[in-house]
Amino acid sequence: MTIVIILKSIIIGALVGFGVGAGAARMFHAPTVQGMGAFRTLGELNACQGDPISHFSFGLGFLFNSWATVIGAGALTQDVEHRIIPNWAAALLLTKNRNVKETLHDPKKMAVAGAIVGAILIPLLNSTAAAVPQSLQNVATKVLVPAANWLINPVMPIIFWLAALDAGKRTGIWGTILGGLAHLIMGNAVPGIVLGILIGKGVDDSGWNRITKTLVTTVIILFVLSGFFRGFDVALLKSMNIGIPQWLINLHKFFGMVVK
């Protein structure tokens, strides 16, 4: 069984690493070129300033946590694709050439480096059991996890929120309203603020045309749907001490959610 997992993991790791590497390098050319990754990945890659040791140790820091969760629960964590693969691929390339423009920003080289890192890393993570020393595992979990959680909430919402406020009145208003609602409904304000900046800046730059109107409509539908599927409507009525109408309970039941 272990051999099968290793073989499958090599294929999966190479595919994932290839996509992550190319996508990460293309982020440096966004928005002209469509990139793939995350704003935080871009920020962290920049934070390491093209220093191979920093890229490597940053990725290493998250490795132990990913290792611990995959051993414990079979979940590799999002860090494998957001942090470990891009940073190690960067470290691999930067040891040979310190010019980030010719390495980290080059989708071809990053795709190849990412595929190599992925094809080694994923089988390693998936096949080893309980190989992480307990003390290192503890430190990684107890130090990195809270720091990463604080970054996601509240640091990132605040940074994006302030950026929206500083970008002009319209962006500030949309960012505040959608950000606040997103934090209520989705549990994190960042997606809402991002959509607020999109709408605010879109209208600032090109006015109320078909595209910006479609965008606003789509965003409203998105909020309504995610509110409904996360049971926000029921929670709202409950917290205001209003009885939940039977048709709403039936509607939720129809989509497989039991209203208590």
Binding site: V20, G23, T32, Q34, L198, M257
Partner: protein, 218 residues
Amino acid sequence: MEDIKIEDKKLGFWYSEWGFIVFVMALASGIFGGTHLYYTYHVGAFNDLAVVALLEAGLKGGGFGAAAAFGGAFLFARVIEGPLVGILDIGGALQTGVGIGIPALMLGAGFTAPLESFPLALLTGAILGAIIGVVIISIRKFTVDKIDSTFGADIMMGAGNAAGRYLGPLIVISAVMASIPVGLGAIIGAAVFYAYKKPIAGGAILGAMLMGVFFPIQ
């Protein structure tokens, strides 16, 4: 936009729009393969514990509704956002959407074959990735290329970059709160890295781990 591309020599497959579709296909295929590993061997799902737990709840017979709605909503939001800001979020669109949401939808509908067979899982992922890639490139074609707005992508990139800087101090604070020796290790590590003009996050992690070997956190 075309002029900028030529100036920066961002040409050829690796910078092209159909290249993007290929990269999304590869990544989505691998992620769906990871979910197949989780489904068959309970290892290798590309997501955080909390999100994988949603899928696990479904596999244990608790209904796939939560995982499907959560993953589906993320996928939708990120596919809309991706082409407008120029960065497709892997975590929301692919890891959560393709890796958790769509498998949950399939399993909820009793459609287990794509998750039971490894080649079929890779193929399903690649097809899903192709669809997502084409949708994103189409949205780009119909929006960004036609109007003179980046929809504030520069603002979001700036905020993303700023967020990365916070991680170093956050790690030191977290280490200090974990235990005194680990905190001291993180402080010294961060200071040494700063003195050598390296980002302090790496130093803080290494310092904390080194002390953690000798003084395990209770």
